[in-house]
């Protein structure tokens, strides 16, 4: 008889994460909605910012706007993707199977939310290409290597924030409504296009607890000049704390849903 142990080895964990990420990413790239959210919507918002910045003449470079609009796309993809993921699995009747699978649910959910934020890389690429082609924005990066590090760290940070969102939405039936609500406030509060210094002081502590604040800082400082290492580190640290919060939260909500036999009903 062969050994059918389901113990989690690092190799198995890596395999679960890689497979779930790849499947989810394939599924998302075939969605018209995600094409809109990750490519067209950021291009429209980047264009609005470009025209406003040009007309006003007070704001910084257009590359500043392109990067901000790109990260807005990453946040939208994460928000709608991660917020809706439990609901989609529920609608497809696969949620119970995923929860009952030998792999811990957090290990299944994490790559799925990471895939949603990974989709956001299209946003950065789209807004930079749009700015270069139609607005003649020079794409000269101050620290290309750090830029190449800042992007995946930001995607990871937002993916883990998405995991927290997904875990809290397990018991909430109308996740899409919350997602609709949370898009603009996070764009605003994390300084993606509007500097935090223009916002009321009480926004500061909220902003610093959100990965997009540090992610955009890391990306901007690596692209426009500055020292992005601290911001990259903060994004990574916040990502790790999101993972811990999400692991507890998923276990708690999963147990509640099992106890109430309401996993597919909530």
């Amino acid at each position: 008889m062969t050994n059918q142990s389901t113990a989690l080895t690092p190799r198995r964990v890596a395999r679960v994460i890689a497979r779930c990420w790849a499947i989810q990413l394939k599924s998302l790239t075939r969605s018209g909605f995600f094409l809109l959210v990750t490519v067209l919507q950021p291009i429209i918002f980047a264009s609005i910012a470009f025209f406003m910045f040009r007309a006003g003449g007070q704001a910084p470079t257009l590359l500043y706007a392109a990067l901000g609009a790109g990260l807005m796309g990453i946040w939208s993809a994460t928000l709608f993707g991660s917020g809706g993921i439990i609901q989609w699995e529920r609608w497809q009747g696969t949620l119970e199977l995923l929860v009952a699978a030998p792999a811990p649910f957090v290990l299944v959910l994490f790559p799925a939310t990471l895939a949603t934020s990974s989709m956001g890389v299209y946003s950065i690429a789209a807004t930079l290409a749009w700015g270069r082609l139609f607005f003649d924005i020079p794409l000269e990066l101050a620290h290309p290597l750090l830029f190449a590090v800042a992007i995946p760290v930001t995607v990871l940070g937002l993916g883990l924030l998405g995991l927290v969102l997904a875990s809290t939405f397990i018991l909430y039936r109308n996740a899409n409504a919350l997602a609709n609500l949370l898009e603009y406030p996070v764009w605003l509060a994390t300084g993606l296009l509007v500097p935090l210094s223009l916002l009321p002081d009480w926004v500061g502590p909220i902003a610093y607890a959100l990965a997009p604040t540090w992610g955009i800082r890391a990306i901007r400082e690596s692209a426009l000049g500055g020292d992005p290492l601290f911001a990259i580190g903060m994004t990574a640290v916040l990502g790790l704390s999101y993972l811990i919060i999400a692991a507890f939260s998923i276990r708690h909500f999963e147990r509640q849903a099992r106890e109430r036999a309401a996993l597919s009903l909530a």
Partner: protein, 276 residues
């Protein structure tokens, strides 16, 4: 009873039927097909999202130094009616197909004109409410202070603009009777109105082709009129803009009705009414 009298009675009862279809049918279809009616969805989506949209663009306007706060408050307060006019209207028509009720509906002898137009009434009322909320946000949080004498004129302008924008939603809804993913188009249109209709970017700063598209869309002239009135102009001063807004809406409504009928006839002929 003479034939003439019977014909008069039939005409009267037919009118009553059509009016009932217009008002009651429109309301019932809205309750059934508008996905966001429950307060748990309505409040975050129809009120929460516009609230933060207005705050976001006003702050972006302050940062870019392009216009005053009231430019963004008025532009966005009028534009957020599209939450109801575009999304709501699209859902109220296109969801018949997604929910599998389109064939049953079109098998009835109901007057198509009354059936179609009746669906526009609830989104119009809702759009007015969302826009009014948008103006209230400006007054409460952004120190927006239009002259009290402008409230009546603003209400008229918003009504015309909401009607016009709802006509655009009807057009998208009609396309949804045939297209695979009409909500892609309605989302895209909502975002485009932020760029092309002078909502956030002064129209004259856009390239000529964008200005031309913007001027052919609902909202553009309504927003322009609302800004003038909020700045102290009288309703009569912007009557040309209001008329243009209304005519644009009329053209979209006509296009929507023609498409609705064409897709109905085509759907029957090809037995493809509910093909997704």
């Amino acid at each position: 009873m003479t034939m003439e009298a019977m014909s008069t009675v039939n005409r009267g009862s037919s009118l009553r039927r059509d009016l009932r279809l217009f008002f009651v049918g429109g309301l019932i279809s809205y309750r059934a097909l508008f996905n966001w009616l429950h307060p748990k969805i309505y409040i975050p989506t129809m009120l929460g999202s516009p609230l933060f949209q207005i705050l976001f663009f006003t702050n972006l306007g302050r940062f870019s130094g392009v216009e005053t706060d009231s430019f963004f408050v008025v532009g966005n307060a009028v534009q957020v009616c599209a939450m109801s006019s575009i999304y709501g209207m699209t859902m109220t028509i296109a969801n018949e197909r997604y929910f599998g009720t389109l064939s049953s509906l079109l098998a009835t002898p109901a007057n198509r004109f009354a059936l179609f137009l009746g669906r526009a009434m609830p989104p119009i009322a809702n759009g007015m409410l969302v826009s009014a909320f948008g103006f209230a946000v400006g007054i409460a949080f952004l120190d927006f202070r239009p002259p009290a004498s402008s409230f009546g004129a603003l209400a008229v302008i918003v009504l015309v603009t909401v009607v016009s924008c709802t006509a655009l939603g009807m057009l998208l809804g009609s396309i949804g009777l045939r297209a695979r993913d009409v909500f892609f188009a309605s989302n895209l249109m909502y975002f485009l109105t932020l760029l092309l209709c002078g909502t956030n970017v002064p129209l004259e700063t856009l390239p000529g082709w964008m200005q031309a598209i913007g001027r052919s869309l609902p909202l553009t002239h309504g927003i322009d009129a609302a800004r003038s009135v909020a700045g102290g102009a009288a309703l009569g001063d912007v009557s040309g803009l209001i008329r243009t807004e209304f005519l644009i809406g009329g053209a979209y409504a006509l296009g929507a009705y023609v498409l609705f009928r064409v897709f109905e006839i085509e759907g029957r002929r090809r037995a493809s009414l509910e093909a997704l």
